[in-house]
Amino acid sequence: MSEAPRYHVPHSSPWPIVGSCALFVTAFGAVNFIHQTSEKIGAEGSFGKPIFYTGLAMIAFMFFGWFGTVIRESIRGMNSGLLDRSYRMSMAWFILSEVMFFAVFFGALFYARIISVPWLAGAGTNLETHLLLWPDFAETWPLFMTPSGDATQAMEAWGLPFINTVILVTSSVTVTFAHWALKKNQRILLGAWLGLTVALGATFLTLQVVEYIHAYTELGLSLGAGIYGSTFFMLTGFHGAHVTMGTIMLTVMLCRVLTGHFTSDNHFAFEATSWYWHFVDVIWLFLFTFVYWF
């Protein structure tokens, strides 16, 4: 063949079915794991935990295999500009779906703050609900005392969370510097900026763990501490999970940069990672504003 194929359609691939099995094993294991540990069901004797971890390992195996194949194809020059555009579009739409996932939890936060907590305290036409159910309940946000009497303290915004904001915004800048360096083919600078970004991501996660320990041990702020704790931990938790994912992706990119992958005009994986990183950064800014600050 004299010219490259117009659009690379792989003939068959084992990785999707590996991935499907992996998802199934993970899901099946997760439920059994939860059932083993949950007081509500207490199903003893199922092997939930090992099955769940096996599933996760299978997912990691799938990613290695699948992305490895794609990388090898790219290096062999089997990818066209058109395929590159497919990848870009897919990543953008995928990020939109992630935005919507966070939107639900923000929706729950706003619903609690604007509707359910005031209503329980008798706002609008809900005086009777208030008097009949929990006449002593008073509206505050953060919700220091739930209707059923669980108490918690609020997380202060201008301590660790603010430091984390600075760290994450800085890391968004450094990843952009790394991208500029890659485009100008300055490999040393690229490695340095990317390494710094990974370090900032890891620092963010460490501080997040410190914050969680502080919340649980000193503030009485936990998942079970009413709707404030629920929204706080679910939002920051899912964000943290995404930062973890992003840091892993950045680390992979760093390893690939050190192995000599990517050229100044062919580095989709790097760009996708940086888009993802900017996305978790923007989500954090919303989190900082609505979960911690106001």
Binding site: M89, W93, S97, M100, S116, I227, T231, M234
Partner: protein
């Protein structure tokens, strides 16, 4: 010994080749076929559950099944029909047809396409296995309202939750693939406003999927943490609200019902012009109407909750926004009718199903308008009238749409014409039975028969018996459909390239059956349709 080994090995390798072909395939036609068969299999599974319910409702009193089992049948029927039948059915059609209709070599991300499909059998395996667990399958209805699903849900609810997560991953990845294929792999000479309407409606459907499947994932995640990790999203004692579940669910749920119908609109818009031998009337308005319906679908979710507690102003907003949807939907119905107006119509089976779609879907649309009225909805809410409404839009809407598409395109897929006589019998059986089954529910509902209850008051006995008889005939008619499909695959009159005299579009320029790989180089658009063509040189047979 040697001879025997030689006997065995080819057999084993043939089986192995069969398994690996379907497990590892990246071909959009193979994956489309897989989706369609999955959808068909679950159609009979969920249909059997409906039969169990109609059997129990044949007479007042408890005859055959326990109330708890009835609730499980009800829940699984709804979940499987929505997520396992209509959605995979449409995705299967999209897989087969979109690359053929836009002149693409395959889907944009063929491996991801395989992944999207093969998640589903596992997800539905997880869901269906809950029927055999201690405490039974989920029994709270397909809407899984909290606290029925959180505080009171059976242990299997958690398998249901993870199953929904897997379906969500599959749907989002599939939707991304479809959008990228349409935007990126369209043949360059086809502009966006040249695209066939099936492609347009699927583009908009895929957008809706990307927007709302993550919302569903969030909702079930909150359920899971409420159930096991002490969160209070849906618990007033912790400052949350069970009503919030309904808001989140229907924010997903209303766009979801358009996901279940928009590709059907696209199918009707392909078939009616072919058999009316006229161009589609008002192509542009069809596209804009579809987009308008999709946009409005995000701001009408409250109409599912009129009776469950909302401020008056909110109810009024949702009422007016909902009624606004009648405008673009009306545009579509008028356009279909105007396309048929003074056309040279013939009534092959796909056309029959498409006309059945237009008429019966419109009835479902009208009962939807009735339900949109806040004061009237207080009477209709949670009655069989609602069941009648959404079965009118889903059965003669989504399901007839899918069947019309299968009859329309199966000659292209298999290379054989289906049996026209049997097809017509299937249509008339189905269309009579569907009305027999669901029309009486309007009356029982208006008279106050609640939905989702295993037993009913004596005055509803006659209408329920009619419904049950209708349901039996409807079930049989689909067995006939299965027979017709299998018969067409195995043989039949050879289909020409163009298949239908009035057909227009790129998919009718490839041979029947479509070769494994098509449009490896982008075709010219618009294609020159050969009105009396019989056979042309095959494009590619590799």
């Amino acid at each position: 010994m040697v001879a025997r080994a030689e006997d065995v090995i080819p057999q084993r390798s043939a089986l192995w080749a069969f398994i690996t072909r379907w497990l590892l395939t990246t071909n959009h036609k193979d994956i489309g076929t897989l989706y369609l068969w999955l959808s068909f299999t679950l159609f009979f599974t969920a249909g059997a559950m409906a039969m169990a319910m109609r059997l129990e409702l044949f007479e007042p009193g408890l005859q055959f099944i326990e109330p708890l089992f009835y609730n499980q049948m009800l829940t699984m029927h709804g979940l499987l029909m929505v997520f396992g039948v209509v959605m995979p059915g449409f995705v299967g059609l999209a897989n087969w047809q979109i690359p053929l209709m836009i002149g693409a070599p395959d889907m944009a991300l063929p491996r991801l396409n395989n992944f999207s499909f093969w998640i589903l059998p596992f997800a539905f395996g997880l869901l269906i296995s809950s029927l055999f667990m201690d405490g039974g399958a989920p029994n709270f209805g397909w809407t899984f309202y909290a606290p029925l699903s959180t505080t009171y849900g059976p242990p299997s609810t958690d398998f249901f939750i993870l199953g929904v997560h897997m379906m969500g991953i599959s749907s989002v990845l599939g939707a991304i693939n479809i959008i990228v294929t349409i935007f990126n792999l369209r043949t360059p000479s086809m502009k966006l406003m040249d695209m066939p309407l099936f492609v347009w409606t699927w583009l908009i459907t895929a957008f809706l999927l990307i927007m709302v499947m993550p919302v569903l994932a969030g909702a079930v995640t909150m359920m899971l943490t409420d159930r096991h990790f002490g969160t209070s999203f849906f618990s007033a004692a912790g400052g949350g609200d069970p009503l919030m579940f309904q808001h989140i669910f229907w924010f997903f749920g209303h766009p979801e019902v358009y996901i279940l119908i928009l590709p059907g609109f696209g199918i009707a818009s392909q078939i009616i012009p072919t058999f009316a031998r006229k161009k589609l009337f008002g192509y542009h308005s069809m596209v804009y109407a579809t987009a308008a319906i999709a946009g409005l679908s995000f701001v009408v979710w409250g109409h599912h909750m009129f009776a469950t507690g909302m401020p008056l102003a909110t109810e009024l907003f949702f009422m007016y926004a909902t009624m606004l949807i009648a405008v673009p939907t009306g545009v579509k119905v008028f356009n279909w009718v105007a396309t048929m107006w003074r056309g040279s119509m013939t009534f092959e089976t796909p056309m029959l199903f498409a006309i059945g779609f237009v008429i019966l879907f419109t009835i479902g649309g009208f009962s939807g308008l009735m339900l949109a009225l806040v004061p009237a909805d207080f009477q209709y809410h949670d009655t069989m009238f609602v069941v009648a409404h959404f079965h009118y839009v889903l059965y003669p809407g989504a399901i007839f749409g899918t069947m019309a598409a299968v009859y329309y395109w199966i000659p292209k897929w298999t290379g054989h014409m289906y049996d026209e006589r049997l097809g017509k019998i299937h249509f008339w059986m189905a269309v009579i039975a569907v009305n027999l089954t669901f029309f009486p529910m309007h009356f029982t509902g208006l008279a106050g028969m609640p939905r989702r209850i295993v037993d009913y008051s004596l005055q509803f006995a006659d209408f329920n018996m009619v419904s049950s008889i209708g349901a039996g005939i409807l079930g049989l008619s689909q067995v006939l459909f299965l027979y017709i499909v299998v018969k067409t695959i195995r043989g039949g009159e050879k289909a020409t390239t163009q298949v239908w005299e009035g057909a227009d579009g790129l998919e009718w320029t490839v041979p029947s059956p479509a070769p494994r790989h098509t449009f490896e180089t982008p075709p010219e658009f618009p294609p020159v349709m050969n009105r009396d063509a019989d056979e042309r040189t095959p494009v590619s047979t590799t």
